[in-house]
């Protein structure tokens, strides 16, 4: 699958990187450019003595560059992709050099496509492993319970003395509790405490509400955990996930769970940076199944995001959903391929239907925060500095007040009476991702 220039533009981390990369997307600037069946690579002179080596896996998209840039993808990756898109013939078919081959093999292996020689498993070994697994589970449950008991005392003490004292608490007050929860193998709960610590206490009314939301959500989770055995398995998994149990992609791939084969559109992408961890959330929409999916990629300063997905990308794939209440998070099981059909989106006609859907989702999973939707919108209106998306029955939903102005203006310009708007309902506001009209999806 060859990426178009628009796909590459969507991949760029910022406009400046894109502009610079366009200037580098000239054959003469590269010392080496080559390709194989699986990928492309090149060498370009940078500020270091040795030229930078840029390597890209095309399907699914992945890249690596030896330059020191902290932007992902860097300008060299963008330039090589643009050059490949505009002048494919300049890339000579070559045998993959050892380092490129190793890197590509490793990526394939990571996706679980290369069968690794499995050890012979005797019934004794299986039994021993199961026992060890059970022991670990029991130990973890004890740890978590002790952490929850401590957090229970901490929260009750906080609420007894009043949350108005929060701004005057030293960092140690939060850090100690968060560290205790990490020790108790409940990093999810520790994150709630860190969120309390990071509140902007200068915004008086706002932090009151935010603190109460965090405290409420945390205590709800703790209460639910005490009653976890009486819950259905998907809800048990949801509760455990939020507390800090991680769900294994490997186990999901190895399971016999049936995937959803569909043509998927990446309706939007959100990147969050928290300390050194970069989280990329890709919101997908299945064209036939008419359901959303969330693919999460993680990266760090030293391990770039595995960005095989780009906003606006339309492809065919089989997705496996994690077994949680109101499942959204999924992984790609099968290779990405071109879509089987033309892009069309079936959107809801009014906000009332979407409100009902959201209520059902909350009933299934009360902790749900983000709810992707497609809406047939007839109008966009601004009133008292707030902007609303209006359906044909004049029901309105407010756009997030923090939504970037440039994107908002683009939305106002591109929108017409027959537009379908894709976006996310989050914290009572709507965050638009893109607009669909005339079989074309335009990212905002």
């Amino acid at each position: 699958m060859q990426l178009s220039n628009i796909d590459i533009e969507n991949l760029a981390p910022d406009a400046q990187s894109l502009d610079t990369s366009k200037k580098m997307a000239i054959k003469e600037k590269w010392k080496v450019i080559a390709k194989s069946d699986r990928g492309i690579w090149g060498k370009i002179k940078g500020s270091a003595i040795e030229p930078y080596q840029t390597q890209i896996e095309l399907i699914p998209l992945g890249y690596k560059c030896s330059c020191p840039s902290r932007k992902f993808p860097c300008i060299h990756v963008l330039a090589l992709l643009l050059l490949h898109s505009n002048d494919n013939q300049s890339f000579t078919d070559t045998e993959e050099p050892t380092d490129i081959k190793d890197w590509l093999d490793k990526r394939v292996q990571k996706r679980g496509k290369v069968e690794m020689p499995a050890k012979e498993l005797t019934p004794e070994i299986i039994e021993k492993r199961e026992k060890e697994q059970d022991k670990r589970k029991t130990e973890r449950a004890i740890f978590v319970e002790s952490g929850i008991a401590e957090l229970d005392r901490w929260l009750k003490d906080l609420i007894k003395n009043g949350i108005l004292q929060l701004p005057y608490k030293e960092n140690n007050y939060f850090e100690k509790m968060a560290a205790r929860l990490v020790d108790a193998k409940a990093p999810g709960l520790a994150n709630f405490i860190r969120k309390l610590q990071k509140l902007d206490f200068s915004k008086t009314d706002q932090w009151h509400q935010e603190a109460l939301q965090i405290i409420g959500k945390t205590y709800f989770l703790m209460d639910a955990y005490q009653n976890i055995d009486n819950q259905p398995i998907p809800l048990q998994n949801t509760i455990k996930n939020l507390i800090g149990w991680s769900q294994s992609t490997k186990d999901l791939l190895a399971s016999e769970q049936k995937g959803v084969k569909d043509d998927w559109l990446v309706i939007g992408q959100m990147i969050e940076e928290n300390d050194d961890l970069i989280t990329q959330k890709n919101w997908l929409w299945g064209i036939q199944s008419n359901q959303p999916a969330l693919i999460i990629n993680f990266g760090t300063r030293f391990a770039p995001l595995d960005s095989q997905l780009i906003s606006g990308m339309f492809f065919h794939a089989e997705l496996l959903y994690f077994d949680i209440a109101f499942p959204q998070r999924a992984i790609i099981k099968e290779h990405i391929a071109p879509p089987n059909q033309q892009l069309h989106l079936k959107a809801d006609d009014n906000w009332e239907v979407i409100d009902q859907k959201l209520q059902s989702a909350i009933l299934e999973n009360p902790w749900i925060e983000d709810f992707p939707i497609l809406i047939n919108s007839t109008n966009i209106q601004t009133s008292q500095n707030n902007t609303y998306i209006i359906d044909y029955q004049n029901n309105a939903k407010q756009i997030d007040p923090n939504y970037p102005l440039e994107k908002l203006l683009n939305l106002m310009m591109i929108h017409d009476k027959n537009s379908v708007i894709a976006g996310l309902l989050s914290n009572q506001y709507f965050i638009p991702f893109g607009i669909f009209s005339d079989h074309n999806y335009q990212i905002l």
Binding site: L155, I159, G162, I163, L212, I362, L363, Q381, E406
Partner: protein, 373 residues
Amino acid sequence: MNKTIENIALLGTSRKPFLMGELPEQIQKSLINFSENDVETSLLRAIYLHLYFQKSGNKSFKLALQNNDHEEHENKTICHSNLIYCYQKIKELPTLNYLYFVEIWLDRLIKNDWILPNNLVVTILKQHENLNSEIKQKTINILGKKAATILPYFPTYQTSTNWLEIWKFGKVTERKIAFLKIRNNDLNAAYSLLDADFFNEPLSFQKLIIESILSNFTFADVAFFEKMYEYNFKYLPKEKSIHKECRYLIASKLLQYDNSILHRQTVEKLQPYFSENWLLKSVKFNLPNEEDSFWNEENMDKTYGIELKNMDIGLFHSKPKYWLSHFIQNLPLEYWNNALKKIASIQSAILPEMKHLLLLSMEKKRLSFYLIF
């Protein structure tokens, strides 16, 4: 968040009792189902139950539609896709070349009376935001009716703002900005606006304008302030506090200018309180301990808008000292210099309390003058 729950959570259950009966009925019913019910647990549960109900009940609402008739009435043609492709290429050029070619491109569109497609409007407006006014004007000329509606979001394109219109029909803060803009360009024009209908405006708006003039006060403003002092903010037996505040602001400023009537009258009134000791070659200011015909509450309120409720008894000890501090703050330093004649003589003659007052007042004004004491 429900106010009862929020207030208890903010102050804490140790300070504010948690009464189940004050909670919304649905939350009360849900809380009964829990066996363990100590106060803190119940409050924490009430918080999450309320959040859950709030989240589930969050619905869209009806909005009265405005008329968006620009879409139906667009009578200009959108430029051909070849020209868009051409622009994409121009965009990749270095700045100098970009300026040259984009102008040719803009002229082409203007000549044919073509407009930009909607999906390119924001990009081009943003791109030309900081370019010269000629290019900005040409960019405005290739916008359709819908695009023109978003132009106010790009302030650098507002080349000829009609401040007079904004003064007449704008919101309060916009009108204040408009007044300052007009005042910066033409002081007389600004005051003729105020002459026309300023005193029919709400008092809060009049105060806002007075404060904005004070932030940039000049000698030329004295006449207008005297007029306001004489006719609009003179003492009324039943006056609003904002009326008094305006009198205080105006009188304080007039005291600072020796050409103002109020300054001259005040200086005359203060003169009898200075006495010279020829023997010691010193000047003394005799501040009365009791109220008299000048130093009294009624006069200070009527003439200067000074209210005693702001007085800190710990700092000023008596009312006349508090009033004197106001005059020290607002009458020019030259006046005090001349009145006390020789600064050196003040050192021995000045009352210790007055020294204290001077220090307090000067400190307020952040002047280093007090060092002389």
